[in-house]
């Protein structure tokens, strides 16, 4: 590929570049909206293009992108930015009845360098909030592990609380806050022991 004087590029490289461009454009294009026709005939304007890219995503093209890490979709703050400020904590009740509040990293309260390093915790919780039950359950289990044993007592009931601050549209500068139970699980001693004995640092 590198030469000291100008050379020519193989036709295979040219075909690869064309194919790659088609694939990334198809994958990055917006998903057809609900109010837009999903068939080529019923779609209008640019929606026709979206129907084509949507169809392309159903072809084996998807393996090229999803297997190789070339998948991409650029919906940062889109179609609308989030209007809620979310964070979490867990209430852990031990088998002996003792109760503890276990914090999950809350970016707003961290010093600047910590904010930089810990941002993934915010992103992770954002996803957990939208995830299915097994992922939420795992979140609660990990919080139980963070809580740890208290003498002979083990974390028995774990309640993950999702705190939501809802930002009001302008010009209203007020915030409406609420706490919701994201998931509540009960563990037996055996289940907790299994969690503890999983390989980890």
């Amino acid at each position: 590929m590198s030469k000291t004087s100008e050379g020519t590029v193989s036709v295979w490289v040219k075909l690869f570049v064309g194919f790659h461009l088609l694939a990334i454009v198809a994958w990055s294009a917006p998903r057809p909206q609900d109010d837009v026709g999903r068939t080529f005939a019923s779609a209008k304007g640019t929606a026709k293009l979206l129907v084509i890219t949507d169809r392309l995503r159903e072809t084996p093209l998807k393996y090229y992108l999803l297997c190789t890490g070339l998948w991409q979709y650029w919906d940062m703050f889109a179609p609308n930015p989030a209007n809620t400020n979310d964070w979490a904590y867990a209430n852990v009740t031990y088998s002996d009845g003792h109760w503890e509040h276990i914090p999950y990293p809350r970016i707003e309260t961290l010093p600047i360098p910590q904010k930089f390093i810990m941002e993934r915790y915010r992103k992770f919780f954002e996803r957990v909030g939208e995830a299915n039950e097994p992922i939420r359950r795992r979140f609660a289990e990990r919080m139980a592990l963070i809580a740890g044993r208290r003498g002979d007592a083990f974390p028995f009931i774990i309640e993950v609380i999702h705190h939501v601050d809802e930002i009001q549209p302008p010009p209203n500068d007020q915030v409406i806050s609420r706490d919701e139970v994201l998931i509540r699980i009960k563990l037996t001693e055996e289940q907790y022991h299994q969690l503890e004995s999983a390989p980890g640092a």
């Binding site: 590929m1 590198s2 030469k3 000291t4 004087s5 100008e6 050379g7 020519t8 590029v9 490289v13 040219k14 570049v17 790659h20 461009l21 990334i24 990055s28 294009a29 917006p30 909206q33 159903e58 072809t59 084996p60 998807k62 393996y63 999803l66 297997c67 190789t68 890490g69 991409q72 979709y73 650029w74 919906d75 940062m76 703050f77 889109a78 179609p79 609308n80 930015p81 809620t84 809350r106 970016i107 707003e108 390093i117 941002e119 993934r120 992103k123 992770f124 995830a131 097994p134 795992r138 979140f139 990990r142 930002i167 302008p170 500068d173 915030v175 999983a198 390989p199 980890g200 640092a201």
Partner: protein
């Protein structure tokens, strides 16, 4: 038509110098190092069986790829589900995970330095893809930008310029002193991909009422979990909310379109740097702005970057140095290549020794001089100490 097609062919597959891709490699290598280090210190939470995302959770989030496909309305299944690239698939041993993450950090360091570049960039790309596929739940837009950059670097002749590989090749006489010409298609792919990032984000935003109504930036500025540094109150209230909302859309659209027109390029990229600078100042989205702005290098040709460095070099003070007695032409070419602004000037009477002079011109090359220049450094050092002894 033939003229147009030949122009397109020249744009995509023409040859040019590799400085742009070399600089891009340095920036992405450094940012991969920072990102990888942050992943490393949080490895128990994100990659271990005791963490938030053990293998079972990862499989729930990203199940095997569907075998079903549709082409022109015809449905068919392929016989197996193709695996995602993931060298951490099935790995639960914490030591193995530690070693893997450390190897990725090493690959990032070597990529940044441009040492064994081809192997390092491929290792970095495979490592980054694996880390991202092992736990996609914690990824944000910046991670995708980083992963794509690593893949493109592995495809590109990334070590052809601004690299230790080049310095070693020059010092050993294996490379010509003339700048290496490389096919520019990987650089073009990087340009087009970043344009796609901006274009599609505007397109998706246009479906949102908040962006259309000019109210979108009202919300992120009030999300405490995103806040970084203090922002003046007037900037987060109308009419500045409308200005920043529409300004973001216009800047992003320009970064997808006008950036390809040379007369506007500089101003569009400057707009992009200002936009990302404000985002990085006010919002806690680690590395994202730095990654996006790193891509901007690729909108310049290598020859333009060389010309710019030469112009800057003329304005900077020259650095006299006393060459070693046995310095070969090959080593001279390597020293010249290690001096990005062309500031080193031979002065046999009052110049400092080579490493001291290089330290002022290019500290990284100076630190690693024994590695790429070996014999010459020793010769220069000996000469310098002999001179000192003589004067003493």
């Amino acid at each position: 038509m033939r003229k147009f097609l030949s122009g397109v062919d020249r744009y995509w597959f023409g040859y040019g110098s590799a400085e742009a891709i070399g600089l891009f490699r340095i920036l992405i290598g450094f940012l991969s190092l920072v990102s990888g280090w942050m992943m490393f210190i949080q490895r128990e939470d994100w990659y271990s069986e005791r963490g938030f995302v053990p293998l079972a959770t990862q499989r729930t989030w990203s199940p095997p790829l569907a075998r079903g496909n549709d082409i022109f309305g015809q449905h068919f299944n392929i016989p197996f589900s193709p695996p995602r690239i993931n060298l951490l698939a099935g790995v639960t041993n914490p030591t193995a995970i530690d070693v893997f993450l450390l190897l990725v950090l090493l690959a990032a360091l070597l990529t940044m330095l441009g040492l064994w570049t081809r192997a390092a960039t491929i290792a970095l790309a495979l490592g980054t893809i694996s880390i991202h596929h092992r736990n996609p739940i914690v990824l944000h837009g910046g991670d995708s930008v980083l992963r794509l950059a690593c893949i493109y670097l592995a495809l590109a002749p990334s070590g052809a310029a601004c690299s230790l590989d080049r310095l070693i090749g020059l010092a050993k006489g294996r490379l010509s002193a003339e700048p290496k010409l490389v096919s520019l298609w990987p650089q073009r792919l990087i340009q087009i991909n970043i344009a796609i990032v901006y274009f599609t984000t505007v397109w998706i935003k246009w479906y949102g009422d908040d962006w259309r109504n000019g109210l979108a930036t009202w919300y992120p500025n009030r999300l405490g979990e995103f806040k970084r540094f203090w922002v003046p109150d007037f900037l987060i209230h109308p009419p500045f909310v409308q200005i920043t909302t529409y300004g973001t859309l216009l800047t992003e659209l320009a970064l997808a379109t006008l950036v390809f027109a040379k007369p506007y390029r500089k101003w569009v990229l400057l707009g992009g740097i200002l936009m990302h600078g404000y985002i990085d100042y006010s919002m806690n989205i680690p590395l994202f702005s730095y990654l996006m702005c790193s891509y901007y290098i690729c909108f310049y040709e290598g020859s333009e970057i060389r010309g710019w460095a030469a112009r800057v070099g003329k304005k900077l003070k020259s650095i006299p140095y006393k060459p070693g007695k046995e310095e070969t032409d090959e080593q001279k070419a390597a020293i010249k290549a290690a001096d990005p602004f062309g500031r080193l000037r031979v002065d046999r009477t009052s110049g400092s020794n080579l490493v001291q002079a290089l330290w002022k011109a290019n500290p990284v090359a100076a630190l690693l001089a024994p590695f790429w220049l070996g014999k010459s450094v020793r010769t220069a050092g000996t000469t310098a100490s002999n001179t000192n002894e003589a004067s003493a």
